[in-house]
């Protein structure tokens, strides 16, 4: 077994290769824009060249004259499209800025769409459109004159109980050592390799939308609302998603527009937005600022923690992530006080991006923890051990399971942390300064409403259907593995179907809930199938299992089996007189409203977990990073990283490993490379392409080791699974930043850490 497919330990499933792997590497897999449609017309978006102001006029003369142009859509001829409400979940639109003008709210707002017989003609016409603007001064970000700040507790029910306990002022006044520092994280864009695409086909009054999506039923219902048609008239299909990371979870303004154009032109319309347009027609991770005060006693016990966050959002939308909710539960802090503010600027509306709340907030607290450990002269791992907790410092509720220190110990051993000289600047290799740093990874365990249909044939073939989403993560595979296990058939006998709103609904692929939620629903359907089979076998008049206790029966190797007796599935099916058993199951998290599944059909998911239940449900990890900084020119490189993670039941060690490794690489990226730069005068994204928006290349990714730490947690959900997709990239940026401090003695508190900050 290779490093990429680690040997399963306790409570871990086999590293089955991805069901869809072959189709993907051979190019057979059809992504939404690959779906064949008959005689499509091609759309090209026109986006605003100013960040704020008004469109005075659009001169279409030259554009309309381009041969092959069919129509041009602007605010003047798209008024029939409904505005639908911005919602910060999977349940609504990604932004309330949906009209094409004449008002311009942000850089790159869609202001027109050209449709032509060919992509090239549409693009040529788009460049030929002359837009006359009345430009107004725009405020791009923090510190710009004209931005407006709001305290989120005043805005939103979900933010009312921002964590707070005890008297922080008194606690910090009595602390022996205090860190008081400010941190910042930049704007980042998801940049999935698959671009934002939409293809719409009308058949009479029925619409099919091919669009990469993290929420088939959300897209279906919201497009229907946008077009003012019934949801039963809309089908959404997205068998594969070429990366999403949160950017494809909600309805963005393009989809209704493409559907509208297809209806008007009586012809399928296909849009593949360009890379740079992707920066402004979807969402992004907003830049944040943090002020932290953290105090401890001389022996390392924390006594108080104050954290105030600031997050950028658009003018109209109150999007925020408020990761203090999770950060405030990480350690036995003593007194806690938190506050979150949003800052309205002339920007598009931000949205989820892989591990939305925790990435910036955990970066800040985990850097502060390192600063405090250094001030105390304590080893950073020991400092965390001293402050480890099994209960919520805010509410006193217990954690359902928490293997943080096991992760630290295993990762530290693999990294050889004990060889570290704690003094900054003390470790060297020739002209390179070496730094070792570590940080905690944490992610709330979510469990969402989901449904599934499972069919078992007498020959042992299984089909699993749920409108879930495989973002490249391995959902097809792990959902299939759950059915194979429950139905006692080989994995190769299972076929999983996902990504189609004709299938039973699954929750939004957000918050890393897919494996937990869908596997729980699949389990439930499989249990119904088992019950039928067991009943038939045990209550038969004759046969090897007749008269057996049902509770003693199981399915294995294509047979119904008990201790010392079994019969082939085909026999049991004969007894039942059927050729197939098909079961549909619904699964909702504890405490979900009675209509949770009805809401799911209507495009509204229900998610529980994290700090919300009777117990705290979180997955943990520990990450260690080595950096090398050149002593003169200060380039920063990461030769190795080790992460150990515990996530309850691991369905498949290969896909889990891949998610966690990819996450760590992204974490390195967010520490050293990624930042969307904003023109300070024009409030426009400048580096909106993959040459200038830096992400690591192979040369930047060397040894990345992932350790899976066994953990059993029956409380989180029936499947016992904690989501892993968003765990690996949390904390990494702090580990890198802490390592840079160890290498150089310089504490850089604003990401990304670029070499000019170390010169």
């Amino acid at each position: 077994m290779s490093a990429a497919a680690p040997q399963p330990l306790a409570n871990m499933g086999a590293p089955e290769p991805r069901m869809d792997g072959r189709a993907k590497v051979t190019g057979e897999a059809r992504y939404p824009s690959d779906m064949p449609v008959s005689n499509p017309a091609f759309a090209f978006l026109v986006t605003s060249a100013i960040a704020k102001g008004r469109i005075n006029a659009i001169d279409q003369m030259r554009a309309r004259a381009v041969p092959g142009v069919l129509d041009i859509f602007t605010h003047e001829n798209t008024g029939d499209l409904k505005e639908i409400k911005f919602a910060s979940g999977g349940a609504g639109a990604s932004t309330s800025i949906q009209q094409l003008g004449p008002e311009v709210f942000h850089d790159g707002q869609i202001i027109a769409m050209v449709v032509a017989d060919t992509f090239e003609a549409a693009r040529e016409a788009a460049y030929a459109l002359k837009v006359d603007y009345a430009e107004a001064p725009a405020a791009p970000s923090f510190d710009s004159p004209g931005v407006e700040t709001e305290d989120v507790t005043q805005l939103h029910d979900s933010a009312k109980d921002i964590p707070s306990v005890g008297d922080v002022e008194a606690a910090l006044a009595g602390a022996d050592v205090v860190v008081d520092a400010q941190y910042g994280t930049p704007t980042q864009h998801h940049n999935p390799i698959e671009l934002f695409t939409t293809t719409c086909v009308w058949n009479g009054d029925r619409l099919t939308v091919h669009e990469p999506s993290q929420f088939m039923y959300g897209l279906k219902n919201n497009v229907a609302r946008k077009l003012d048609v019934g949801p039963e008239q809309v089908r959404t299909i997205s068998h594969f998603v070429g990366g999403a990371f949160g950017s494809k979870a909600q309805l963005t303004p393009r989809t209704g527009l493409v559907a509208f154009a297809a209806r008007k032109l009586h012809r399928p319309v296909k849009l593949v937005a360009t890379r740079d347009q992707g920066f402004t027609i979807a969402t992004y991770r907003a830049e944040t600022r943090h002020r932290i005060r953290l105090g401890a006693r001389r022996d390392g016990k924390l006594v108080g923690y104050e954290h105030e966050g600031f997050e950028i959002t658009s003018r109209p939308d109150k999007y925020f992530v408020a990761g203090v909710e999770d950060a405030a539960r990480l350690y036995a802090y003593g007194a806690v006080k938190t506050k979150v503010n949003i800052v309205h600027a002339d920007r598009n509306t931000p949205g989820f991006m892989r591990s939305p709340p925790v990435v910036p907030y955990i970066y800040a607290i985990e850097t502060a923890m390192d600063e405090l450990a250094a001030k105390l002269g304590m080893d950073p791992v020991e400092f965390r051990r001293v402050n480890d907790t099994t209960t919520d410092p805010i509410s006193g509720k217990p954690y359902s399971s928490r293997s943080l220190m096991q992760c630290y110990d295993q990762a530290a051993a693999a990294f050889r942390w004990m060889a570290r000289d704690p003094h900054p600047g003390s470790m060297r290799d020739g002209d390179w300064l070496i730094g070792w740093g570590c940080a905690t990874a944490v992610y709330p365990t979510h469990f969402g409403s989901a449904t599934a249909r499972v069919r078992l044939l007498a020959n042992g073939d299984v089909r699993v259907q749920t409108a879930a989403h495989d973002l490249g993560t391995g959902a097809y595979t792990v959902i299939g593995q759950m059915a194979a296990e429950r139905l006692g058939v080989p994995f190769s006998a299972v076929k999983t179907e996902l990504g189609d709103s004709e299938l039973p609904p699954a929750s939004v692929a957000g918050g890393s809930n897919t494996t937990a939620s869908c596997c729980s629903a699949v389990m439930k359907a499989c249990h119904a199938i088992r019950a039928k089979l067991f009943h038939a076998a045990a209550t038969a008049n004759e046969g090897p299992l007749a008269g057996q206790q049902i509770s003693g029966l199981t399915l294995r190797d294509g047979k119904v089996a008990a201790e010392g007796a079994e019969e082939p599935l085909a026999e049991t099916f004969k007894r039942l007189g059927v050729g197939a058993i098909e079961e549909y199951a619904e699964s909702a998290p504890p405490g979900a409203p009675a209509d949770a599944i009805a809401s799911l059909y209507a495009g509204k998911p229900t998610l529980s977990g994290g700090a919300h239940g009777k117990k705290l449900m979180y997955a943990f990890g520990a990450e260690f990073v080595e950096v090398r900084v050149h002593k003169d020119t200060c380039e920063i490189r990461v030769p190795r990283a080790v992460g150990a993670f515990a996530g309850g039941r691991i369905m498949n060690t290969r896909t889990a490993h891949s998610q966690l490794m990819g996450g760590m690489i992204w974490g390195i990226s967010s520490a050293l490379h990624e930042a969307t730069e904003i023109d300070p005068v024009r409030a426009r994204y400048v580096n909106d392409n993959l040459a200038d928006y830096l992400v690591p290349v192979n040369a930047d990714v060397q040894a990345v080791d992932v350790i899976l730490v066994p953990e059993v947690d029956p409380d989180v959900n029936p499947a016992g699974v904690k989501g892993l997709g968003e765990l690996g990239n949390v904390g990494t940026a702090a580990a890198v930043s802490n390592a840079v401090y160890h290498a150089t003695g310089r504490r850089i508190r604003q990401l990304p850490i670029r070499l000019e900050k170390l010169l």
Binding site: E120, D276, L672, R682, A691, P696, V697
Partner: protein
Amino acid sequence: MRPFIYTRANSPSFAVQTFPSGSAGPDVESPGQYLAGGTNLIDLMKIDVLRPQHVIDINALASSPLGIISTNAQELRLGALVHMADAADHPEINRAVPVIAQSLRLAASQQLRNMASLGGNVLQRTRCPYYRDVSYSQCNKRRPGSGCAALDGFNRMHAVLGTSDQCIATYPGDFAQALIALDAQVELQGANGTRAISVGALHRRPGDRPDLETTLAPGEMITAFVIKPAPWMRRSLYLKIRDRGSYEFALASAAVAMDLEDGRVREARIALGGVATVPWRAQAAEALLRDQLFSEANAQAAADAAFAGARTREHNAFKVELGKRTLKRALTEVAAMEA
């Protein structure tokens, strides 16, 4: 993309004669463009920055001397259509002129180096984001007289040497620095025959005409680069500093070559990249090293001299210090080379 005429040239003279007359060389408004690897030209056409009416594909000339590397005792000759990858991997170039091979190997990605030609490389356009995005109304290089958005915009990647108040765009390439450090000649073929000039005389500083990028006459084609052997070629290297480990343009770079005897510098050659509007020869710095014992202090003095005339903007001030450190490190490393 706008419609254009595409012609495939089967001889250099045909190519030159086909070039639309009255055009302004490789500059933005030129109605004609030669097509080599296309890794820069096609990009810029797709995003509407370059809008040639006539594209003349010269790739068929790769079977002529334009596609050949030849080395002998008198010269190293690199045809304009030689792929970057082939020159980077050439054993004799690696042995005899490491700075050439390294400047190419550290550029772009393997895939691009497989496609891209040496001639196209030297003539590649700036990566200034305001130049490359036609939705910005201000860019003197793209729309003469319209202003320069980079001056008060985001300018981390922009130049600190050779700038003007009309344009601060960085010359992005790596290879041309190696060429000018070695006093390479570029051979040209035009409507009026052939000529050769120094590569150092090929690019123009922006001054008050940032739209005019080179001294090429309209339709003039690069056929080859020629380097004469010199005692400093073996002891040469290219140091490129960037945020990522690979596949990124330089924040600062230095092509250096040195003739060193018993610790004394007989000749030093220095060209800088990532920091200047054109491939930048640092002659004042060279002069400080020449005929001196090589020392850290001298290297520092040379680095300081190289950036004496630097002018910085809001986000690129660091390039002065980084450029100096890069040069000092390159000089120190080249002096320590076994050659």
